[in-house]
Amino acid sequence: MDPSIADTAKVQIRLSTREDGLEVPDDSRLLFAPTSLRRVDLSRLVNNLLHNDTPIPFEFLVNGQFLRTSIDEFLTQNGISAETTLNVEYTRAFIPSLHVSTFEHDDWVSAVDILSTSSPAGHWTGNYPQENTRILSASYDGLLRVWDTAGNVLATSSAPHNGGRITSLKSAKWLSDKKIAAAGMDGVVRVYSYDDSTRTLGDATLELYNHNWQVDNIAVHGPSHRILAASADTTISLFSSRAKENPAAPESLLPRSTAASNKRQKLSKPAHSAPARGALATLRSHTAPVSAVLFAPNDPTVAYSASLDHSLKTWDLPTSSVVETRATSHALLSMAALPTLNLVATGTSARHISLIDPRASATHIAVMTLRGHANAVVSLDTHPRSEYGLVSGSHDGTVRVWDVRSVRTATEGQGQVGESVFVIEREGVEKMRSHGEGVKVFDVRWEEETGIVSAGEDKKVQINRH
């Protein structure tokens, strides 16, 4: 093709956005653009139309696909005539995270959580100062650590005395700026008190017993002091973080309950003992290990759970009953809620993420499938600002960012398929293999100021910021 022709070729585009306050004036929505333009050029154009002093980086969705080439190449690839008017939707770009800092641990890091102004625990605490942002990590070594954003360890918990059992942790959450809940392979949920002024974490202040196999995931709701625990024993527990609200602990689960265990308990350092309590309720309905649990973001009396029995369930907590069961075709390993879209995202062992409408009225169960990971998707979190953004952590050793507006194909009967917007690899690793040996990602959180925080088999917490 004669380059002079390509340079001057133009196509009519119609600009639109779903971002509040970023609409271009009505009279500049329809315009002729050179087909040689790429994303950066279009982004500059929209910023000019908005008279932005500090430009906002934008992404452009053309027919549901992110523009990754020039408009000309896009038209050619998709067999679209330059005569048609292109509908171009612009969105704030989820900028690839460049800056990386890593916090070194002694062992695999299974979970992370963030305490900041805009994090759930920061909200519940109220006016939590941004400069005091804290990162909580849980490790296979059985310890919780609290870090500042510069990577200094401020406090470390003591290992629990559980009668010679494994202490590896699987999940940890901030209940408030002073309380942490954590659980793992010994099946006990523990509540810790954290004092930021003295930087002390220490021993658990409450031990919650209800599970006879490991607890893989917990969820917390600070204002009501509630903790949900998802266990491999196929049940979910509802606990209170206030000792007195819970009933007595089941005797058979206490470390001193068996002769052999009691003997070992005495041999290990005894001393301090936290109050032991049982559960307010046990949610039974799953038939295989429960891998993830969530309070519904808009209603803490509703919970969602995901299980290796392939189902996603909605629970009414006051009555401990199942409201809805959504059956899928794969073992479910992780979950995040997208409340404004009425969707729940769930990560599978089959390497994809399913977006599921949990409501009974929904006609389509799996609304969309996000493909790109090469191994199990074991952690999910939502974009701190956009209802369309998701982040996932996988055993393939990568973290992927998704925009659910980005749709590759719409195959008949299969719903829509989306691709990740970008990929974050583990720092210092040359080549990721699908089995992710040595670099599996176990948990990921996304917070406004801190960025994307992920934890994994490389014994590191990795932070990617803009």
Partner: protein, 380 residues
């Protein structure tokens, strides 16, 4: 001109037969020397492995994390590990040399699961004390088929609670579905090559005084009181209640390495050192219904999915595993559909040995393999 191929019933394509394992999802590393045997616990959470370094180990299935181990022997390899099938307890059987160990890995169990598991193992001590072991012919044997004992403080401190010593090195362990009995095979054991052990009584019996040929493997029928024993060239099924021979299968193999029974009970797969995989339909004939030659080297292990998926797998010294679709139809007039689905590669061949064992997950289309390269691998 009619192409004869076009008259044959068309097999479904692998794409239509999903799900089946296609990729390596985790590598279990940390063993010295060959891994000989793997087993997935009945809940599908843990992998147990045993190998040349004399250790029995337990790993987290999805991550490959090593959670627990115990050294069972300084001289002998751990040749067989098998979880007891019951879900309310967690008991692992492992064999090193002539010793079979029963293990409660309490470090990864809650106190109540530890207690119920200990109770199962402890029940037999009183019986053993009150009644010495006898062979089936009723005559008090000079040497009992097995001595049941406590393995000593070092191992007991790790949860290795019971030791049964037989006369010859054990290569195969197979549990009865209810977990009351387990069978062991000691190929060099002659008249004591196949033993059936009663857990609740710490009792060992030798049901076959004379076996024609070298015993290779043995297992219980999934639902009937029938017991299968493979020797080098044939597989015999016995009625345990009537104490009589039911059938002799002739796979036409030079040397059988392993076999597995379909959960429906009427079909059987056989792996051979002469590189063949054979499918036997017990209703059809004593000869194989299908012979599959896909491997360059010996087949060491074969396994049916036991949780309702129409899948089976084999493991070979060429370093690969092969995954097959194997659909058994209830209709007597219709034969099983067998379709090769996927070759799984990743294990390295070491000293001409490749993949030593393969087992399926109890529910999912996932399998775990054991390699001579010192690793186990999860395939999803």
């Amino acid at each position: 001109n009619i192409d004869p191929e076009s008259l044959l019933p068309k097999l479904p394509s692998p794409e239509e037969l999903k799900p089946f394992p296609t990729t390596c999802a985790a590598i279990f590393r940390g063993q010295e020397g060959r891994v000989r045997s793997v087993s997935i616990d009945p809940r599908g959470l843990f992998v147990a492995s045993g190998g040349d370094d004399g250790y029995v180990r337990v790993w987290e299935l999805l991550t490959g994390r090593q959670l627990w181990n115990a050294k069972l022997s300084d001289e002998d390899a751990v040749d067989a590990v098998r979880w007891r099938p019951n879900k309310d307890s967690a008991i692992l059987a492992a064999a090193a040399g002539e010793n079979i160990y029963l293990v409660v890995p309490f470090a990864i169990l809650s106190p109540d699961v530890e207690q119920s598991s200990r109770d199962v193992l402890d029940a037999g001590w009183g019986y053993a004390a009150s009644k010495p072991s006898t062979s089936t012919n009723g005559i008090a044997a000079k040497e009992p088929p097995a001595r049941w004992s406590r393995p000593g403080p070092r191992l007991e401190g790790k949860g290795v609670l019971v030791q049964a010593t037989v006369r010859s090195a054990v290569k195969v362990i197979h549990w009865h579905r209810r977990g009351d009995y387990f069978a062991t095979v000691s190929p060099r054991g002659q008249s004591s090559a196949v033993a059936i052990h009663t857990l609740s009584k710490h009792l060992t019996q030798l049901p076959f005084r004379r076996l024609k040929g070298l015993a290779q493997s043995a297992q219980f029928h999934p639902s009937k009181p029938i017991f299968f024993v493979a020797t080098k060239n044939s597989i015999r099924s016995y009625d345990l209640a009537k104490q009589e021979l039911v059938k002799i299968l002739q796979p036409g193999a030079k040397w059988i390495s392993s076999f597995d029974v379909h959960p429906g009970g009427d079909n059987l797969i056989v792996g051979t050192y002469d590189k063949r995989l054979l499918w036997h339909d017990l209703d059809l004939s004593t000869k194989p219904y299908k012979t599959l030659r896909y491997h360059q080297q010996a087949i060491r292990a074969v396994a049916f999915h036991q949780g309702g998926m129409p899948l089976f797998a084999d493991a070979s010294d060429d370093g690969s595993l092969q995954i097959f679709h194997g659909k058994v139809v209830g209709d007597l007039m219709e034969n099983a559909t067998i379709v090769p689905l996927k070759v799984l590669k990743g294990h390295q061949v070491k000293s001409r040995l490749g993949v030593m064992d393969v087992v399926w997950h109890p529910r999912e289309p996932w399998c775990v393999s054991a390699g001579a390269d010192g690793t186990c691998r999860l395939w999803c």
